[in-house]
């Protein structure tokens, strides 16, 4: 569903000059032609001040005048063939981080290159006076770079230290600052060695890693943000005097009467005041079949109104509704993940003390041996410089950036770099049923036992409705409609079914009590809809959950790799057990409310297991947030996508297998990288300890080790996939 133009004002931000700014996500933009089509079309719309498309983020920014009379942007976009979604005000904080990183990178690059130019002259054998001058110039260039570009590392290191922890940025910051101060001291006292080049090029390399990492994550986030939101921004409410008013969802109060059209998501919890319809609860509770509602029924926010208009009496405000409760539950559940320490930081926790103690030992030993404070200090600082964990700090991010890009190409978004690290440790997998292992839409069962004539009439009637059952019946009929009598007077009765006249007979497809004119009540016949010819039942239809075609191969593959699988569902015992048996999953839990799903995951964590949760609904969100690592499939709601670490954008569960393959490869490469970086240090420290490290030695050794680590990380691109892991395109 595209943008409701009456909601535009609620999604816009007012600018100081009286104009309104609106951000839209338009996933369909893909080329220059789309840009000019959208921009030129919108420029001619009344009240639009400007329209600007961003092709990289697939977003459209519109400035418009007159907030009381906003332009019909959604309608215009739909007319020229683009689906747009209101994305709300952009989170400018993220953009700021990006431009801050780019600026820091530019300053570091400038300083590193200029200093390196001077250093080459010194290494080539400059006169002492020239060398002295070049050292002073280098010191002058390095200072702003270290202050300006180094902030990124100092602030992160300071934050860690303040909380009594240590991360990779601590030894980096210490190394950078000590290198600079020592070099400055040596320059002032006329020493031959200064390490300004090492400090700035180190900074440059590290910032490249950080910037790439940030870019990948931002791309994943903007792709996730761009999709449809579950709760409408604004709704129509019915006033006492019978008029309707369009108000923001947040300002709904209990007791207000909310109008819901067919196809609308329910914005707040409430009871049905008038009207009959059916609601789709698949996202809310995991129940796959539509539930009929009539005056007095209670419905929860997030469910989808299917067939007819309904007036809802709100029983809670938006922030007190089911959906808001789920989001709160989800935020509370994010416990296990914060206790996870990234591999890089685990290494840093050991590395930093060892390095700092070695430097101290070098100082004490040389002072005891030679009695020369300056010499002892120089050697202990050169130990710190040579061990400054450049390669180590790049070892993990390089692999993650490469992995993230590789996954992005296969339509998998990684929101957190450490998700792959956690994924390889997983030993238990919880699957949601509806929408994850099965399609959310029901499929017709035993359609072959229905007489072809009846089936054809049913399909012809079903084509007139958007009800999930009708869609399933229409999809099940493969034949043509040409050789049957045309249907006339087709109309859909909300909450009941579709009727039409053909060859003098009245055909009805729908609930059995309605279709038979009450001669058969809904409870005595079949549960599903029936087709009647002049009130006589000619066919009845049964529906089942359709298992995803790749589901069983994915499940058996996962089970063969030694993982313990179980299904957690809110659906009925019968449906869940049938599915579990069909897929060969031993354990299953049915009729689980979100709280129980969360408890199930938390219990697994308490038992020391590392669970992976795969789920898409609102009811899965708390469990997704609580589990050690979580994956949301393509069908997920915005709540599910927010809660999960990894989002499959393609409607194919084999993405999970791909993820495991990439995660295993990434772990191997990370270990290799860390191992190499440590090996480099083991070789280099004795040289530094003995006082052999010159600036040239430091520059060459550090750059070489960094480049090797980067190249090794890029090897992830060559990961070979088995056929079962290859995705449909």
């Amino acid at each position: 569903m595209a943008v409701d133009d009456r909601d535009i004002v609620f999604a816009s931000t007012a600018l100081p000059d009286g104009q309104m700014r609106l951000e839209l996500s338009v996933p369909g933009i893909h080329c220059g032609g789309c840009i000019s089509k959208i921009e030129t079309t919108l420029a001619d719309v009344t009240n639009v001040a400007s329209a600007r498309v961003n092709l990289s983020t697939r977003r459209l920014t519109v400035l418009f005048r007159d907030p009381d009379n906003p332009p019909a942007i959604g309608e215009v976009l739909t007319r020229i063939g683009f689906d747009a979604f209101l994305s709300g005000p952009t989170r400018t904080g993220e953009d700021k981080t990006y431009s801050k990183l780019l600026k820091s990178l530019a300053v570091a690059a400038f300083a590193a290159m200029n200093i390196m130019m001077l250093s080459v002259a010194i290494w080539a054998g400059a006169e002492p006076e020239t060398r002295q001058l070049f050292h002073w110039v280098s010191a002058g260039i390095a200072l702003p770079a270290l202050i300006y570009s180094g902030r990124v590392f100092y602030s992160s290191a300071w934050k860690a230290l303040k909380h009594g922890r240590t991360n990779m940025d601590v030894p980096i910051s210490v190394g950078l600052l000590i290198t600079y101060l020592m070099s400055l001291y040596d320059t002032a006292t006329g020493g031959a060695h200064a390490y300004f080049d090492a400090a700035t090029s180190l900074l440059f390399f590290l910032l490249i890693g950080k910037t790439l990492d940030h870019m990948m994550r931002q791309k994943a986030h903007s792709a996730i943000d761009g999709l449809e939101k579950l709760i409408p921004l604004a709704v129509d409410v019915l006033e006492e005097d019978g008029t309707t008013r369009h108000i923001s969802t947040n300002s709904i109060e209990p007791g207000m009467k909310v109008l819901l059209a067919a196809g609308d998501h329910v914005p707040v919890d409430g009871t049905v005041e008038s009207g009959r319809s059916e609601v789709d609860l698949s996202l809310v509770s995991g129940e796959s079949h539509p539930v009929a509602i009539s005056p007095g029924s209670e419905i929860v926010s997030g469910s989808l109104n299917l067939s007819g208009p309904v007036v809802l009496c709100a029983s809670a405000p938006a922030n007190g509704s089911y959906l808001a409760d789920m989001i709160r539950l989800m935020e509370r559940a994010e416990g296990s993940r914060s206790t996870f320490t990234r591999l890089a930081d685990r290494v840093a926790a050991l590395y930093a003390p060892v390095v700092h103690l070695t430097a101290l030992a070098a100082f004490i030993l040389w002072y005891a041996l030679s009695g020369d404070v300056h010499n002892a200090l120089t050697i202990s600082v050169s130990v710190l410089i040579i061990t400054c964990p450049c390669a180590l700090a790049l070892a993990v991010p390089m692999v993650q950036v490469t992995a993230s890009r590789k996954l992005f190409e296969s339509g998998i978004l990684m929101k957190d770099g450490s998700a792959l690290e956690r994924l390889v440790e997983v030993d238990t997998v919880f699957f949601d049923k509806t929408g994850t292992l099965t399609f959310r839409k029901p499929a017709l069962r035993e359609s072959d036992i229905i007489e072809p004539d009846a089936m054809r009439t049913a399909a012809a009637l079903a084509r007139h409705s958007r009800h999930p059952y009708a869609l399933a019946i229409a999809a099940a009929w493969q034949g043509s409609f040409t050789r049957c009598e045309p249907l006339d007077n087709v109309r859909e009765i909300p909450g009941s079914g579709v009727e039409g006249v053909s060859g003098g007979h009245c055909f009805r497809l729908g609930r059995s009590d309605w279709a038979t004119h009450g001669s058969q009540s809904a409870s005595e016949g079949s549960e599903g809809p029936v087709l009647t010819k002049d009130s006589i039942v000619v066919a009845s239809f049964k529906f089942e959950d359709k298992v995803r075609p790749e589901g069983s191969s994915v499940v058996s593959e996962l089970r063969n790799s030694g993982l313990k699988l179980s299904v957690l569902s809110g659906d009925s015992e019968k449906k869940v057990s049938t599915l579990a048996r069909a897929l060969g999953v031993d354990e299953y839990r049915s009729q689980h409310v979100p709280d129980q799903k969360l408890k199930e995951v938390e219990r697994a964590i308490e038992e020391g297991k590392k669970p992976l949760m795969v789920g898409d609904g609102i009811n899965d969100a708390p469990a997704l947030a609580a589990s050690y690592v979580s994956i949301a499939p393509a069908s997920a709601t915005d709540v599910g996508r927010t809660a999960a670490d990894l989002v499959l954008m393609k409607d194919d569960l084999r993405g999970i297998l791909l993820l495991f393959a990439v995660a295993r490869m990434a772990r191997k490469l990370t270990f290799q990288n860390v191992g190499f970086a440590l090996l480099y240090n083991i070789i280099a420290i004795p040289f530094a300890f003995l006082g052999f490290v010159t600036p040239l030695f430091a520059a060459v050794a550090m750059s070489t080790s960094s480049i090797i680590v980067v190249l090794n990380g890029l090897r992830l691109n060559t990961v070979k996939l088995a056929d079962s892991e290859r995705l449909m395109t």
Partner: protein, 57 residues
Amino acid sequence: MTASYLYLIPVSLVLGGAGLAAFFWCLRNRQYDDLQGAAERILMNDPNEQDAGSNDA
């Protein structure tokens, strides 16, 4: 002698600094916000020229 070429150092720094300043200006001017879009926009007609283009076709 070497000393007479020393003016090259400030020259190189000023040139480098100018490049850096240009980059900062681009960044502030939002020229890096949409790299893909910028590449496509080269091929688009200006709004004023579009009429003339369609007349020719």
